[in-house]
Amino acid sequence: MGFRLILDGEEHEITIIRRRPHLVLDIDGEKHEITDLGSDGDGRHELGAAGQAVGFARATHGNLQIVRLNGRTHEVALVDPFSDAGDAGGALDVLRAPMPGTVISLHCKAGDAVRRGDPLVTIESMKLQTLLPAMRDGTIAEILRTEGETFDKDEVIVRLEAESEKA
């Protein structure tokens, strides 16, 4: 298994070949010996690479590592290949009620383009109001309940246009 990193808009593959007597990395198919990892965390470190010490500074900034090396600053992102783990497939096309309740208000209408996380419907159940967000980016195909209507657990409340319909 390897890691994918993005530097200057280009994707790179990096994996570990060996750890002893020192780390050997495979970066884009080429071997690189790392004789000194430098310490962990943000700050100034020294990397022993190809038998040579390279000083650099590094900081974590959100999903990025900011690396200042050789008088240049670079931003490197880690690609998470499964950021939607467990969410993929047809299940994403419909918004189901997580519990029985009543629709308090609708925040979208059919035909609306929505982004993942946008509020779609506010429901009330067991005296608690819950905002149900869009499960993915897409277009509202149909809203099956109006304000004031009740529903059971797992009933479909909003349907998004299937991914294939967009194409």
Binding site: L5, H32, F56, V67, G71
Partner: protein, 494 residues
Amino acid sequence: MTAPLFNKVLIANRGEIACRIMATLKAMGIASVAICHRAEAQARHVRMANEWSEVTGETPVAAHLDIAQIIAVARKHGADAIHPGYGFLSENAAFASAVADAGMTFIGPDAKTIALMGDKISARNFAEAHGVAVAPSVMPTGDVDDFVEKAAAIGFPLLIKAAAGGGGKGMSIVRDAQGLAQAARIASGEAERYFGDGRVYAETYVERPRHIEVQVLGDGEGGAIHLFERECSVQRRFQKIIEEAPAANLSPALRDEICASAVRLASAAKYRNAGTVEYILGADGRFFFLEMNTRLQVEHPVTEMITGVDLVRAQIEIAAGHGLPMTQDGVRIDGHAIECRICAEDPERDFMPETGVIRYLGVPEENWLRFENALTRGQKITADFDPMLAKLVAHGSSRDEAVDRSIAALRELALLGVKTNTDYLAAVLDHPAFRAGDLHTGFVAMHGDALLPASLSGQEKAQVLAAAALGFREFRDLVTGTPEPHAAIGGWRN
């Protein structure tokens, strides 16, 4: 030890300049009072001050421009003087008056001088009247058509500027009659927005102009000296990014001439305080008065480094009525100094301001280096204030050494978490034209592409990727979290 010149000084500013002023106050045994907007309550200048108070306003900048509030804070703390720093209220005559009216000392010129020099037109007239060369120009008449006609008469190219203000706001270059009227209207609109005064004027635009300025000290009685010149030709968006002292390739005769001209102006104005007379210098050696800044300049450290004079201390001594700290003969140039303004901006996107959070700050430490800043780790960089984050000022025995040292320091400086122009500045310094001293205000535009970063070598890429990968928790755990003897055995298969 004699009694301090003031008991307590309020600094009506923030950031690196507030810290810079406090350092001198501390050395002089004077207590300091800081002001800050709520957003900056944890800022370095606040923590560095002996006392501090919050100032409120719709925006952080508005808070720093609220004269009545600042005077009230100064009173509350029992300050006996106010230092305005640069920007904000530093060239605001009303503020200077208000400070004086409140019975405190304004560390700067009197309100009258500020008003005189603050208006480009009156300043220009004053300069012209006292034998300081000015560029042919045309004044606003209130009627755009009339203005356009007169301006066209002095010939192109022309520079359109706001009458009140500076910093490049409301400025444009016009090369032919067609663009003139529109440029005048746009400039006027911008001037109205930024300075509340829509008057603009036009003057001869000097091709390949160099920006040369002279640091002066005046005692307010007509006594004035200069501390030599600075060159601030490397600019982007009409704002300086690299300044140096002395100017490169300036003949001693021309230097004397320019410096004498500045002293003449300061003396005639009975100028009190440290001030800067700005000139535009053409390739032909002709120079014209541009404006006079009646305050401490952002780039004052380069002068301090080559003369050994603490300009803030000089300001305070003059304000306290102690007169000039030295005679002209006592000012000597020692070596060369260069200042680089580290700004939160993206040189690859037309120097657009950037925001972020300072995740790591690694500053090189050398006895030839000053890193003027008020930055702290974790500090948010917002669009509330000017994008300038810090100044890196290096001294060398020669210009070459100062350039080399500046580049080395810029390369080592690590300010991570917000995009800055650090690498761009190093590229400018390292450009053959800069090293040759072939400077003019169009430097950045002319050498634009050559100043952008070269693509990385495979080796460099690998180093960056390895360094970055080891910063990601997921990867580092995988490197270091392998039990023994498995880590030692490695990728063996039987």
